[in-house]
Symmetry: C2
Subunit: 365 residues, 2 copies
Amino acid sequence: MATHKLLLLPGDGIGPEVMGEVKRLIDWLNSAGIAKFETDTGLVGGSAYDAHKVSISEGDMAKAMAADAIIFGAVGGPKWDAVPYEVRPEAGLLRLRKDLALFANLRPAVCYPALADASSLKREAVEGLDIVIVRELTGGVYFGEPKTITDLGNGQKRAIDTQVYDSYEIERIGRVAFELARKRKNKVTSMEKRNVMKSGVLWNEVMTAVHKREYPDVTLEHQLADSGGMMLVKAPKQFDVIVTDNLFGDMLSDIAAMLTGSLGMLPSASLGEVDVKSKKRKALYEPVHGSAPDIAGQGLANPIAMISSFGMALRYSFDMGALADKVDAAIAAVLASGLRTADIKSEGTTAASTTQMGEAILKEL
Amino acid sequence: MATHKLLLLPGDGIGPEVMGEVKRLIDWLNSAGIAKFETDTGLVGGSAYDAHKVSISEGDMAKAMAADAIIFGAVGGPKWDAVPYEVRPEAGLLRLRKDLALFANLRPAVCYPALADASSLKREAVEGLDIVIVRELTGGVYFGEPKTITDLGNGQKRAIDTQVYDSYEIERIGRVAFELARKRKNKVTSMEKRNVMKSGVLWNEVMTAVHKREYPDVTLEHQLADSGGMMLVKAPKQFDVIVTDNLFGDMLSDIAAMLTGSLGMLPSASLGEVDVKSKKRKALYEPVHGSAPDIAGQGLANPIAMISSFGMALRYSFDMGALADKVDAAIAAVLASGLRTADIKSEGTTAASTTQMGEAILKEL
Ligand SMILES: CC(C)[C@H](C(=O)O)[C@@H](O)C(=O)O
Ligand SMILES: CC(C)[C@H](C(=O)O)[C@@H](O)C(=O)O
């Protein structure tokens, strides 16, 4: 059996708690002889700042580079609101994305039937929802230069951020979306603001070309990002795969996640290019939810998004689709049994702590 | 009685139809001696392109500069998808905003009780919703330079858009938001992405300073734009006034509008700075909805957003608040009577065409 090297980066807030439940799962997989994971742990975000005054140390970056996959918790919190911009908690996550070239961020937004009533949307609007947002993750306004604040004198400053996209960046994220759609409902909706942004014009042009040349069998639709956002709120089930840039993807995937009523349940995968020689790709898996500092350390956090993110690792990094299916089934079974963490509890369900939820899923497995 | 100069720019799609109902209202106000409006009409968007190969002619720009207020319909449609970027329909609207320095875009998102069920959100989440998005309208990525597409050779292109904000631009939109909040529930939520964008850092810093210096009596909260979008979907009633930049404002105001279930009902105002001498300010009023080319010319469009935008003109440009209240009351009364255009019809209501709706509102007045 091959040994897989995992780097666990729990981060801040509820990160360590939910990561604890993934560790429990990994330990069991190892001891039951189902898989062979070698794990190492590092610091990222505010916890790295507290220890080393950086958002991730060079040592942990080296470990990340060498790992077969990174399992990431969450970063940030008011505690670090005043730290210098360059070493703010988020910088650690952004550096991992950029330096590991994790350009493809897959964010499924799935509405668990047992949780449909937790959505602020009407049940009929979200029941059965199953879409994926494919977000470009290493380009756009997140990383473009110049990115500066300049003092203009007279108490005036000027802030500049730059959105930059090259054709190849749009092509490769397009391919990820089209490939994924082929395994799903065969439909891709590309969202940009071509009526205002030159990057939107190029985005639209390149998506259209890739589609025509390589994926004519997939349905491609274009939508302006603002009306796309509206359509997501009005009738999200019309979508299958949505492909969009880094900043629109940030906004739209959060909104899609919130629609489902299952924010504490949603995983994500950030993938690099497949290496031609080793056939491997760098990858980082993280829950869509944040570090929730307000409930940290109280055993209240829902570990399902984190466990489900590990499930995505099994599927995308280790070709263990069958095992990933079992993890998904175990989560569904535990939910069906009525067990609920605080964020998703409703009348007639049984309250569970982070640990109780993790243990129940493991027992189900 | 003072004479007020209006420039009507119906634009494309359903623009001319809904503008027709405003004209009807203006004619009546004039003939009943309630007000004195002098109207002129111009072309903008696709209709200007069809006539003059530009998105707005210099002649119409001059009229816009001279008008006391501009009443704007909507622009765009698939017919002009292939026209050169510089003369695309939206360019006319963007030029009006920029050249008239209409930096403050006020977008109320109000849920009409009679229409709460038209929302995809649960009634309890949106019933009674009454928030205003204050969007910065002449800065940010919409207008920053460079804004280019460059050919890099090898079939590769590079697109660049630039987000630029100076302190004074953030200060003045902040003031608009704080002033508005004082007349409402006294709360402002500022949204940006300071964890990723330098413009977000400056936005946050300037808002905080303006608040501390000039509006300490107003409650100010800061939220990251992505989680702000989530909160809008989850529990929109927690907000009063939201202030944000041009691009986030574009996304967030559309989402807020869609939440209400009343997209065809929502007006907006775009305001310039008050001139110290004349005490006047340039202003453009337009519905939040678009040109809806799919239903254009069929008498199906809902004229309420357009009429209500004219109501905002009465209030903000002509100091006729009492008359504006009457317009709002007439709209509410007609809705209560059960009259509905196609976009908002439901069981037990009476179908009305664009004209029938406009006439009913006028009769109510
Ligand atoms: C933490 C932050 C930098 C990050 C982002 O903006 O990408 C987060 O919001 C996300 O969506 O993963
Ligand atoms: C038509 C378009 C240029 C415009 C914008 O992006 O500002 C529209 O979406 C709006 O919100 O008024």
